[in-house]
């Protein structure tokens, strides 16, 4: 399934998501959630495979985070976000 996180790691959204996210699941960081992928914020190796993590490019660019995120996080536009929703029957928002 698809998970979205829209809060920075200061909030508990990411932690709660990671507690239950499955190996075949996908995580899309949106809005303030993109701060979770800031290199300095990536602790405890949570970004490791098999987890697939994306971040919405518009949110990354708006926040001046280009080049500051962990390279394992793929930047996506909104149409790619839509295609991920199509590929996963249900989605869970963590905020």
């Amino acid at each position: 399934m698809l998970h979205t996180v829209n809060k920075s790691p200061d909030a508990s959204a990411l932690r709660q998501c990671l507690q239950v996210i499955g190996a075949d699941d996908v995580l899309v960081l949106i809005e303030d959630g993109v701060y979770c992928a800031l290199i300095a914020n990536v602790v405890d190796s949570w970004l490791e495979a098999p987890l697939t993590v994306y971040a919405t490019l518009a949110d990354v660019e708006a926040r001046g985070l280009l080049g500051r995120l962990d390279p394992r996080v793929a930047m996506i536009d909104y149409e790619h976000f839509v295609s991920l929703c199509v590929a996963h029957p249900a989605s869970k928002r963590w905020s």
Binding site: M1, Q16, Q19, G22, A90, S91, R93, S95
Partner: protein, 117 residues
């Protein structure tokens, strides 16, 4: 028929999300079997002994007691979130089934649509 899962993640009274989330659960129960999951601070919504007069806030928590009458009997909470807050189901006005992380994952995976509040 699709399986709808409602997730309550906010504490009561600090915002309207819990109260309006419960309204959505009751609406859903008229259409289809609904499951409800309380996560994170959402477990606080079920704390018993909420006295709202002095705050002039709505005592909507009592409406949770009507869930059974509405046919909503799949009520769950995240066990770890209850524990972290020093709570047990004895502190709650309902008796949700506490789920471990694997069970929460199964519940989420089994839903056709998830409405997050």
């Amino acid at each position: 028929m699709k399986k709808l899962l409602f997730v309550q993640s906010k504490p009561p009274h600090g915002s309207l999300q819990g109260q309006e989330g419960l309204d959505a659960i009751l609406a859903g129960s008229a259409f289809v079997d609904c499951a409800v999951l309380f996560t994170g601070d959402g477990v606080y919504q079920l704390l018993s002994q909420q006295h709202t007069d002095a705050l002039s806030s709505r005592d909507y928590a009592v409406t949770y007691l009507a869930l059974e009458d509405y046919g909503v009997d799949q009520i769950y909470c995240v066990a770890a979130d209850l524990q972290q807050r020093g709570l047990t189901t004895a502190d709650l006005l309902l008796n949700p089934t506490p789920l471990d992380d694997a069970e929460v994952q199964t519940l989420l995976q089994g839903a056709d649509a998830i409405l997050d509040f």
